[in-house]
């Protein structure tokens, strides 16, 4: 056996071991059931999204239970504060004629925020899966196209692609797809980076993981989670309102 071979096989062993450590937080897959030989599989993120939906449902039922015209309870005051915050944000960013988008933006904000905060329960963030963030970005993409077609009608829709000059057509079309792609990757990248860095810190500190993970978790699991949800709705709103044809 030559030295090179020994080195190479040692390196291969290390790579194999590193793969088994699972610092990466790879997506787990669960087999749901089997009908006539056809298997149905679910990813971890789908199951955690069900938990998110249940949490949201419980919070909404608690907050909106037994409402009065003049708020008497703190629950109702909190719910109204949240709704007013989102409504003011939508009116401030998109203008008050986009009032119909308030429920969607509200849903998006609550859903992404709770999804991002799932890391606190020791679960994997569903938003650290590109198929979840991609879905949300595709909804934004279709809303942008809808708003452009609605405000510009047939002529304005196609004319908006050759503005300001006809040779800009390829750039406009690329930009149309690059925006939702960046939107999906921004949320995915931020949450995955937080997850991977958290896992690496726990792995590196081993049994001495006392104070440092708490500090980094405060930033990645709480600050970054809330901030990314806010950034996602702000960008969604500015993409939709900037697609307006005049």
């Amino acid at each position: 056996m030559s030295t090179a071979l020994m080195l190479a096989s040692a390196a291969a062993e290390t790579v194999k071991e590193a793969k088994e450590l699972e610092v990466n937080g790879a997506l787990k897959v669960v087999k749901l059931f089997e009908i006539n030989g056809t298997e149905f599989w679910l990813t971890e993120s789908v199951i955690i999204q069900w938990i998110v939906i249940l949490i949201l449902l419980a919070v909404i039922l608690i907050l909106t239970h037994n409402m009065k015209v003049v708020p008497e309870t703190k629950r109702q005051a909190a719910a109204e504060m949240l709704v007013e915050f989102v409504r003011d944000t939508v009116h401030g960013t998109m203008g008050s004629k986009y009032n119909a988008y308030v429920p969607y933006i509200m849903t998006l904000l609550c859903y992404i925020m709770i999804s991002n905060l799932m890391g606190l329960l020791g679960l994997r963030n569903p938003t650290a899966d590109v198929s979840v963030t991609g879905t949300l970005a595709i909804i934004t993409f279709f809303l942008v196209q809808y708003n452009r077609a609605k405000t510009g009608k047939f002529k304005g829709y196609f004319k908006s692609f050759i503005e300001p000059l006809p040779f800009m057509l390829p750039f406009n079309i690329i930009g149309e797809f690059a925006n939702p792609l960046a939107l999906a990757l921004r949320l995915f990248g931020n949450m995955t980076a937080g997850m991977v860095i958290g896992g690496l810190i726990y792995f590196a500190l081993g049994n001495f993981a006392l104070v440092i993970p708490a500090v980094t978790s405060l930033y990645f699991d709480i600050f970054s989670a809330v901030m990314q949800a806010y950034i996602f709705i702000m960008l969604t709103m500015s993409y939709i309102s900037s697609a307006e044809c005049d």
């Binding site: 090179a4 071979l5 096989s9 291969a12 990466n24 960046a182 921004r186 950034i231």
Partner: protein, 95 residues
């Protein structure tokens, strides 16, 4: 020292895995750009708030959006690095 086909195979695989890891690390040099961009963005926002403290809410909102947009290129690099580390398309080409 003789190179049997077995040796060549292990060496080739080792080079492929090592080059993938190096590529992942090199991709993250792109983190420089967003760092500079976000720092400039934050500095300008502080200057603007210093000049006009009553507009701090609107300035902070705009700054956060600007930060998020400046971050995009860095996140593209992060996605490439994560692909190379965890979902390496080159692994299928191992001998």
């Amino acid at each position: 020292m003789e190179m049997t086909p077995e040796t060549m195979k292990i060496l080739a695989n080792g080079i492929l895995l090592g080059a993938s890891a190096l590529g992942a690390g090199t991709a993250m040099i792109a983190g420089l750009g967003p760092g500079i961009g976000e720092g400039y963005c934050g500095g300008q926002a502080v200057a603007a708030i210093g000049r006009q403290p009553e507009a701090s809410g609107a300035i902070t909102r705009t700054m956060i959006i600007g930060d998020a947009l400046a971050e995009t290129t860095g996140l593209y690099a992060l996605v490439i690095a994560l692909l190379l580390l965890y979902a390496n398309p080159l692994i299928g080409k191992l001998l």
